[in-house]
Structures are given as structure tokens and as C-alpha cells.
Symmetry: C2
Subunit: 328 residues, 2 copies
């Protein structure tokens, strides 16, 4: 790290991100001391993002920093945990520190403010290789019970937060496709792709009502498959039920094969929204409480005994296998 050494980087750039959290010791020690709030446990999750794999090569470092934190936050929310603290490990590419550091730290700072988090520790090094960001994030959970992949019961209802598919469109746009005539749609899907905002406030509703939950990172259908596999249940998702933003609806309306278009949105991934299973008799209350905190909830399916995910479109079965869609 020419120009700005490791200690300078930590003291000048990263220490302010601790927001004075006492256990972080101003990042001057080799570790931090963390105690969950009274009556709580920590939910802990960890994601590694590699430049060129998990975000595009040459990405604005602001967006890389934001996305690295968002990817962890959405896991915490799915666990019914309030995002609190994080540890950051960085491998800088040789010669790639000076060009990235300022925008990266700005992106982290804005993301942690948006998500209510503070930095408590980590490690920074450099190597001949791609820029690599590992974050381990801590959330507070009341007691020790959390919704898990495997907790859903037959009869529970599968629900999803906000909109699905915008990040897929954002990625296609990054790859050079012109998708929209409306500039606002274009910037909306870019923002949903590059600086996703998981529905943080949802954590307490999931803690109270959800029997199972997962964040949508692999793709809506794949992540529903994870819940079904772990819970030993089956479901049918109708692609006409996908909750789509105005931008996605506009795009779908101009596609020749609407079913294929919707399947792309349901499998694209990187949504960082939440799929949850909620017992039928709580669905109305859950949805209404979510609406009050600004999170839109859409009903996708009723979970049934059996195994596997079936997909339909306007009630006609879709042969997902024939589309090379073989995850489950």
C-alpha cells in the first residue's frame, strides 16, 4: 500500500467507522470485545465477495463496499436478527489500494449508516490477485430462536418482500443491453443491482411470525428450493405471482416470451429480499405489520407435504428442466 500504510489506513479511514463502539477499542488492538444485548444471542453470518466474481471487475468501489455489507445484512434479517456490528477483511490487489480506498470507505460508511451497523475489527493485506472483501456480521436475536431454512410446516404460506428481478435487469444493462426507454427505470435497476437495500426493518416481524426464512441471493426459485429441501416440503410457484417493480413490469411487457422473461427474473439472484414461511393464520397480521414499516409482502404459495418445487405460469406447468434450470 504505497503512500498510505496499513496503520494509517486503519486509524484514518476505518476507525471512524466504529462509531465509538467501545468493544472495538478504536481498532488499535488485535481483537474486539462483543456482548449481545441483554436477553439476546448473536446471529453471525459471513460472505466473501471477489471482484470479477461477485461484483464486476472495475466496479465503483463505493458500490463494492455497499454490496459487501448488504449481502451480509440480508442474511441477518432472514435470521430475524437486528444488524449491529461487522468485521471486515480486505485483500487489496497489488497497486490497487490508492485507486479504491476513498470510494470504498465512503460506500461502507453510507451502507452501515443505512443498515444501522458499526465496524469492530478485521484485517487488511495485499496480494497479487483480485480485490477480495470478506465480512462477518453480527445481529442481535431475542433469545436463541430464529427462522431457519428447515423450520417450515405444511400449510405455512410462502411470502416474499418487495420486488424480485430488478438486479437481474441491472446486470443485463451492465452487460450492454438497452432495456428501457425510461431513464428512471434504467437508474432504478442499476441501483437495485449495485447498491441493494435489504429490508432491515423486517427482522422483528420475521422473528415473531416466520417459521422459515432465507434471503434471495441465488435466485428466488433456487432459494425457495433451499427452504423446501431443508423443511421437507413441496410447493408450486406461479410466475404470474412474481412481485415486479414498475421497471420490471415495463420490461416484461415488451418481451416476446413473457414466461421466459419472468423465469429469468425469478432465477437471476442478487435480490437481497426475503422469502419467508408464515403460518396461514398469521399471514394477514404479518403482511399488515410489514406494510406499516414500508415493506410490501406478496403471497407466493402454500407449502405442502412432499418434496420439490413446481413452477407454473398462469396455472400451466413450466418445464424448468428443459430451460437448463436444474438446481432442484
Amino acid at each position: 500500500m504505497a503512500g498510505e500504510g496499513e496503520f494509517d489506513f486503519i486509524a484514518r479511514r476505518l476507525a471512524p467507522l466504529t462509531q465509538g463502539h467501545t468493544g472495538a477499542y478504536g481498532l488499535k488492538d488485535d481483537g474486539a470485545i462483543l456482548a449481545p444485548p441483554s436477553g439476546c444471542s448473536f446471529a453471525v453470518t459471513s460472505d466473501t465477495l471477489v471482484e470479477g466474481v461477485h461484483f464486476p471487475g472495475g466496479e465503483d468501489p463505493f458500490k463494492a463496499g455497499w454490496k459487501a455489507l448488504a449481502a451480509n445484512v440480508s442474511d441477518l434479517v432472514a435470521m430475524g436478527a437486528e444488524p449491529k456490528l461487522y468485521v471486515l477483511n480486505i485483500v487489496w490487489p497489488k497497486g490497487g489500494f490508492e485507486t479504491r480506498v476513498e470510494r470504498f470507505v465512503k460506500g461502507l460508511a453510507e451502507a452501515q449508516a443505512a443498515f444501522g451497523m458499526a465496524l469492530v475489527g478485521g484485517d487488511t493485506t495485499s496480494a497479487e490477485g483480485p480485490w477480495t472483501l470478506s465480512i462477518t456480521a453480527f445481529g442481535a436475536v431475542q433469545g436463541t430462536r430464529t427462522p431457519r431454512r428447515g423450520g417450515a410446516k405444511p400449510g405455512d404460506v410462502l411470502l416474499v418482500s418487495n420486488f424480485i428481478g430488478d438486479p437481474y435487469l441491472g446486470l443485463q444493462q451492465r452487460l450492454g443491453l438497452t432495456l428501457f426507454n425510461v431513464p428512471a427505470h434504467s437508474s432504478f435497476v442499476e441501483q437495485r443491482f449495485a447498491t441493494p437495500s435489504p429490508p432491515v426493518a423486517l427482522f422483528s416481524k420475521l422473528h415473531h411470525y416466520a417459521t422459515a426464512a432465507i434471503d434471495v441471493s441465488d435466485g428466488l426459485l433456487a432459494d425457495i428450493g433451499h427452504i423446501l429441501d431443508a423443511s421437507g416440503l413441496s410447493a408450486t410457484i406461479d410466475l404470474s405471482d412474481l412481485p415486479l417493480s414498475a421497471a420490471a413490469l415495463d420490461w416484461v411487457s415488451r418481451q416476446e416470451d413473457e414466461m421466459a422473461a419472468r423465469l429469468s427474473l425469478a432465477t437471476g439472484g442478487d435480490d437481497y429480499e426475503i422469502v419467508a414461511a408464515v403460518p396461514e393464520n398469521f399471514v394477514r397480521r404479518f403482511s399488515s405489520e410489514c406494510a406499516q414499516i414500508g415493506v410490501r409482502i406478496t403471497r407466493l404459495a402454500r407449502l405442502e407435504a412432499g418434496s420439490g418445487l413446481d413452477v407454473s405460469f398462469n396455472a400451466t406447468p413450466v418445464q424448468t428442466g428443459a430451460l437448463g434450470f436444474t438446481h432442484f
Copy 2:
């Protein structure tokens, strides 16, 4: 990861490393639930090791896995924390999974058994780049007080555990030098370099007696410098007081410039031993309790008001600056 997919790798290879820890959920979820033992906080530390930077390219993956965990364990011990749990993030080099996975997991398994730890989560991915291992480790601390770099007081005594310098000799040997006529010495320094064993049992003694502590990773003198800087104190270290193993003593005895040889041992780093400051009136009790748990303690210096580290050899000042030794 050709042949063995990510899910197989996690289920077959990594899940057994959770040792059934309930909060790990068998590594089937996106996160873990952790609560410190009653009356305790978590000490949290994190280290990233990159192949070719922090361990040699082509290293036996058993040794890489061991060392990645050991590097974190020594930070926890220095914080007076009992090592408990860890989260593991791996970036495999493209095509480098099959050749590394078996020995790597074996090294992790043996290291965690030696250190009393269990795996609770993480992330695994692959990229065009060097093999990268990030570990975030959790230790249990009674209450929230820990020895820190900045806690030492004038009059406290600076002490070090076991031996210093063997890993430096292990590295020189790796670089092709023949250092020993005695094969046992050769294998001893290799083992101290490649599979270091931090003095885990020391954690409770440090918690009770130490005002400051740090693990020796940058090099004994550099890490003492960190304590002096953070505590606002000064000290003089005499190189004749270095605690040396039989192997290191044998090597030193055959060097033309004994002072330079000892300085190399005191600055080589990667020792993963502990330097601690203990009030004078507790030093005898601390040392005797450490001896009972098999940890040898050596007195290095009395901490004084002022700033900076002076180095001497047989009571004659050493001009470390002239040796290109300018860290402090």
C-alpha cells in the same frame, strides 16, 4: 470446484468440524447463533492468510489450515480469552480445490482439536487468484475486561512465553539454508514455523494478571513496540535475555556475529507466543502458575515512563536503526 460441489464440500468435509455445536445448524443455514457462556463476553479476532504472502506458495495444505487457525488463536489468548468457535471464509484458486481440500480439512481438524475450537459457519468460493483463508475466531472472556496493548503501567514487568525465533529459523531453512547438523533441531524449527501452537492454556493467567498483552506475530521487538506505543511507556530489551530453544541456541552458537543473530530471532516474527505486562508484585505468582500449566515465562524488561524501545546486548546499546530496523 470440479468433482465436488460447494454443497458437498460443506456437508461432507466441513459439517463434521462443527462438532455438533447447536448454533452452527450443521452449516445448513446462512448463519449461526452464538451466545457467550454465562457471565462472559466474546473476544473476536480475524486474520486473513494469502498463499504466497502469509504462507509459502505450494505449502502443504494441512499446514496452511493449521496456521490459519493458530494465527487467530494466539490473538484470542493474548486477549485473555478461551478459544471457542470460528468462522471460515475460503477463496479457492481456480482448479486448486481437489489438490488441497483433503489435507487442508485434516489440518483444520487437528488444529481445532489441539486448540479446543469448533467451526460454526463461513463461506466458500473460487476465483482466479491465490488461495485465501480468512478466519474470524471467537473466545470467551469472563466479564468484559481484557489485557490490551495500551493497558501497561510504569513498573510493570514485560514477560514472554516459551521460546522466540524458531519460526524465523524454520523459514530460513525453507528458503534452502542448512542450519543444523542435528535432524531433530531441523524438524523442530520446521514444526514451529509451519504448525505453530500458541500457548492456549495461558489465557486465564493473562486474564487474571496481565495489564497488557499481545501475540508475537510481527516480531518480538515490533510487538513489544506496539505495547510501548499504546501504553505510552519505554523499555530496554537485552538480546541476551531472549528465551531460546535448544535448536536456536545451537544455531546462535555457530554464528560469527551473535548480536546480529539474536536480533534476527527477535525480529523474525510468526512466533505466536505471548508478550505480557504484569505488575511486579504478581510476577512470581504468574510465572509459577504458568509453569504449572507447562508454559515457561521469561522476564524481558521493566516498563518505564517515557517512550520508545531501546535494544542492548550484554548491556551494550545496539543501534537497531543501522540494521535497517526502523519500525519504531
